[in-house]
C-alpha cells in the first residue's frame, strides 16, 4: 500500500511530461499567437542572436551589451538575447548555450570564461548549423566559426609602449609588472613590447616582475623596483590586478608624476588615479563598439556576408572592418586620459 502511494505520483508525473511533450508540432503552429517571445527563425525574417558575456552584470560587459542593443536596433531584423551567468560560472554559461540551441537561435556569440568547459556546448551548437562566434576572448577553435577580436597582441604591445613613451618623454628606465611569468596573454604582449621598445632607444627595460594576479604583490614589487632603481621613470603594469597595485605604490611613495605607470583597465577602476595625477593614460578598447561589432558580425555570418577569405566586411556605423583569417578585428585601441575619461562609464 505504502509503495503504491508513492509510486502513483511518480507515474502520473511521467505521464504528465510525456503527455505535454508528445504533441509539440501542433503546439508550435499556434505559438505565434500568445507567445511573442517565440524565437524560431522560421517565424518571419527575424534573426535571433544570443550574446553571452563571461559574467552578466559587471560594468565591462554591461557596456558591451549597450553596443549590442544599438546594433540590433540598427539592423532591424535582429532579436537580441543578452544573458550570462551572474556569478561567471562557465557550467551555467554552457547550459545557456544548450538552451539557445534547443530554442533554435540563428547565431550565438560567446565570451568564454573557461574555453574547455564551454567547448562541448559550442561544438554541438555548431554541428546543429548555428553560427557560433567568440568575442572578447577566444575559445576552442573547433567550436566556433569566427572570433571577434578586440585587439591583437601586437596592437596591445605597441599601444602600451607608445603610450608610456609619450607619458615619460621617450627616455628613462622602465620596468614591467606582469600577471604570472607563465601567463599566455601577457607573454604574447611582452614579445611585441620588446620589439616596439627598439623604436625608443632612450628607454631601457630594467626588470620584469610577476604579481601573480595579486594587487598586494604588485604593490610591493613596485616599491622594490623604485628602491632598486631610484631613477626609474615608468612602469608597465599589464594585468588588471597589477595596474591599481602599482599605481597605489607610486602614489603612497610620493612619486606622483616622477614615475609613470600605464596598463590595461576599465576607466572606472582607474579614474581616481588619473585625476590624482599618478596615471596619465589607461589603455583599453571601446567596449560599446566591441558589443556592437559582435552583433554585426553574428548577423553577417548568418546572412552569409561574412565569408572566409574576405579581407573586410561592412559593420554598420563602424564602417569596413578588417578580417584576418577567422578573426574579425575591432582594430582601435582607446587611450583614456584625464581629458576624456569622464566620457566613459564602465
Amino acid at each position: 500500500m505504502r509503495l503504491l502511494e508513492r509510486v502513483v505520483p511518480v507515474v502520473l508525473l511521467g505521464l504528465a511530461i510525456a503527455g505535454c511533450g508528445s504533441n509539440p508540432p501542433a503546439e508550435t503552429s499556434n505559438s505565434s499567437g500568445p507567445a511573442p517571445a517565440s524565437t524560431s527563425p522560421a517565424s518571419g525574417e527575424k534573426i535571433t542572436i544570443a550574446l553571452l558575456p563571461k559574467q552578466k552584470g559587471i560594468a565591462y560587459f554591461t557596456s558591451c551589451a549597450k553596443g549590442a542593443e544599438e546594433a540590433a536596433k540598427e539592423l532591424g531584423d535582429v532579436e537580441l538575447i543578452y544573458d550570462g551567468p551572474t556569478d561567471g560560472k562557465a557550467e551555467k554559461a554552457a547550459s545557456m548555450i544548450d538552451q539557445w540551441v534547443l530554442k533554435g537561435v540563428s547565431a550565438i556569440a560567446v565570451s568564454p570564461n573557461d574555453p574547455q568547459v564551454l567547448a562541448p556546448a559550442m561544438k554541438s551548437a555548431k554541428e546543429k548549423g548555428i553560427k557560433v562566434l567568440t568575442w572578447d576572448a577566444d575559445g576552442d577553435k573547433a567550436g566556433r566559426d569566427w572570433f571577434v577580436n578586440q585587439a591583437t597582441a601586437e596592437q596591445i604591445g605597441n599601444a602600451l609602449v607608445d603610450t608610456l613613451a609619450k607619458d615619460i618623454g621617450g627616455k628613462g628606465k622602465v620596468a614591467i609588472i606582469t600577471a604570472t611569468l607563465t601567463a599566455a596573454n601577457q607573454n604574447e604582449w611582452m614579445k611585441y613590447m620588446n620589439i616596439r621598445l627598439k623604436k625608443y632607444p632612450g628607454m631601457t627595460l630594467v626588470a620584469t616582475k610577476p604579481s601573480n594576479e595579486n594587487q598586494k604583490i604588485a604593490f610591493t614589487a613596485t616599491q622594490d623596483l623604485m628602491k632598486a632603481y631610484p631613477d626609474l621613470k615608468g612602469v608597465f603594469a599589464i594585468s588588471s590586478a597589477a595596474f591599481p597595485g602599482a599605481a597605489e605604490a607610486i602614489k603612497q611613495s610620493g612619486n606622483n608624476g616622477k614615475v609613470m605607470v600605464t596598463g590595461l583597465s576599465t576607466p572606472n577602476d582607474m579614474k581616481a588615479y588619473v585625476k590624482g595625477g599618478t596615471v596619465k593614460s589607461v589603455i583599453l578598447w571601446n567596449t560599446v563598439d566591441l558589443g556592437y561589432l559582435a552583433v554585426q558580425a553574428a548577423h553577417a555570418a548568418v546572412k552569409g556576408d561574412l565569408r572566409t577569405g574576405a579581407k573586410t566586411f561592412k559593420a554598420g556605423r563602424l564602417g569596413e572592418k578588417k578580417i584576418a583569417g577567422d578573426n574579425v578585428l575591432l582594430g582601435d585601441i582607446l587611450v583614456f586620459t584625464k581629458d576624456n575619461i569622464d566620457k566613459y562609464d564602465f
Binding site: 500500500m1 505504502r2 509503495l3 502511494e5 508513492r6 509510486v7 505520483p9 511518480v10 502520473l12 508525473l13 504528465a16 511530461i17 510525456a18 505535454c20 511533450g21 508528445s22 509539440p24 503546439e27 508550435t28 499556434n30 505559438s31 500568445p34 507567445a35 517571445a37 524560431s40 552578466k56 552584470g57 544573458d83 550570462g84 551567468p85 551572474t86 560560472k89 562557465a90 557550467e91 551555467k92 554552457a94 547550459s95 545557456m96 544548450d98 538552451q99 534547443l102 530554442k103 533554435g104 573557461d114 574547455q116 568547459v117 567547448a119 562541448p120
Partner: protein, 303 residues
C-alpha cells in the same frame, strides 16, 4: 501516511501548474527532445540528493558532498594526466569519494562529533585538498574518452540509485531503522539497532555518489578541476527538504526527493528559458516558502 501522500500531491500540483503555464507560453519547452536535453543538467545533483535524503532521514546532514565532488574530479584529472587508463581514472575517483565519505562517517560515529560540524569542516577541507593537489589547474579531454557516459547512462544510474534506496526504505528493515534513528537515536541504540554501522555506510555512500557525479561532470564538461560541485550540497539539501523530508529526521522518502528535484529542475530551466537566469533564485525561494506553508497546512508539522 495519508499526510505524506498529500505533500507529494501538492508538489505534483505545483509541477503541473508550472508545466501548464509553460505549455501556453513556451510550447517548444515541453517538446520531448528539449526536456531530454535539459535533463542532462540534473543528474549530478540528482545523484547526490539520494544519499542526502537517507542521511537527513537519520537526522544528519552532509555538507561536504559538493567539495567531495571537487576532490574526486581532481583525483580523476591527475590520474588521467599521468596516462592511466580511463576506467582506472574513474575508479580512482569513486574510491576517493568513498574514502572521503568514510572519513566523515568515521568522525561522526567514532569520534561522536555532530554531522553538521564534521561536514562543515570537510566542506572546507576537501575543497582545500582539491585546490592544493591541483594547484587550481584543470585537466581536459574527457569528452571523447568518456563518450560511454553520455545521455542515457546518467539517467539509468540515477534510476538505479532511486530503486535501491526505495527498496532499502520499503522492503528491507533499513527503512524502519533509519527513521528510528531520526526520531530518537538514543532509543534506537538501546533497541540494539546497528546505528553506527548504518551511519558510517550512509556517509560513505554519499561520498561515493559525489564520486560518480564528478565523473559524469567531467565527461559532460570535458574538464576536471577543483571548483566542481561548488554549492551543490545546499541544492541537494533544498531538493530533499522540498521533497517533504523533515530536516530533523524521521520523516520523508526518496520519492519526495525525486519530485523535489524535478520541480526545482523544471522551474530553473523554465525561468531561464522564459525570462532570464537571474530570476531563478527568486522563483526557487518562493517555491520553498510555498512548500513550507504547504507542510503547515497539510499538518505535516515541524519542517
Amino acid at each position: 501516511m495519508k499526510k505524506r501522500f498529500a505533500h507529494e500531491t501538492a508538489l505534483l500540483a505545483l509541477l503541473f501548474a508550472l508545466l501548464a503555464y509553460a505549455k501556453f507560453t513556451e510550447p517548444k519547452f515541453l517538446a520531448l527532445d528539449t526536456q531530454r536535453k535539459l535533463l542532462e543538467e540534473l543528474w549530478e545533483l540528482a545523484l547526490i540528493s539520494i544519499p542526502m535524503t537517507l542521511i537527513i532521514l537519520t537526522g544528519g546532514i552532509d555538507l561536504s558532498v559538493g567539495s567531495a565532488m571537487g576532490l574526486c574530479a581532481v583525483v580523476m584529472g591527475m590520474s588521467f594526466q599521468r596516462g592511466y587508463p580511463p576506467a582506472l581514472c574513474a575508479l580512482l575517483a569513486l574510491v576517493a569519494g568513498l574514502a572521503a565519505g568514510a572519513l566523515n562517517g568515521f568522525f561522526i560515529t567514532r569520534v561522536k562529533v555532530h554531522p553538521l560540524l564534521v561536514t562543515l569542516a570537510t566542506l572546507a577541507a576537501f575543497r582545500g585538498v582539491a585546490e592544493g593537489m591541483s594547484g587550481g589547474a584543470s585537466v581536459e579531454g574527457f569528452v571523447e574518452t568518456f563518450k560511454l557516459l553520455r545521455d542515457p547512462v546518467p539517467a539509468l544510474i540515477f534510476v538505479a540509485f532511486v530503486a535501491i534506496a526505495a527498496w532499502f526504505l520499503n522492503a528491507a528493515p533499513g527503512g524502519v531503522w533509519l527513521r528510528a534513528i531520526g526520531f530518537n537515536e538514543t532509543s534506537a541504540r538501546f533497541s540494539g539497532l546497528p546505528v553506527d554501522r548504518l551511519k558510517l555506510r550512509l556517509y560513505a555512500l554519499s561520498g561515493l555518489a559525489a564520486g560518480v557525479a564528478a565523473v559524469l561532470y567531467a565527461a559532460r564538461f570535458n574538464t576536471a578541476k577543483a571548483d566542481i560541485g561548488d554549492g551543490k550540497e545546499l541544492e541537494a539539501v533544498t531538493a530533499v527538504v522540498l521533497g517533504g523530508t523533515s530536516i530533523f529526521g524521521g520523516r520523508g522518502h526518496v520519492f519526495g526527493t525525486v519530485l523535489g528535484l524535478l520541480l526545482i529542475h523544471e522551474t530553473r530551466e523554465f525561468v531561464k528559458w522564459h525570462w532570464s537566469n537571474e530570476y531563478i533564485a527568486i522563483v526557487l525561494g518562493v517555491l520553498l516558502i510555498l512548500s513550507v506553508l504547504m507542510n503547515r497546512f497539510l499538518g505535516d508539522g515541524e519542517s
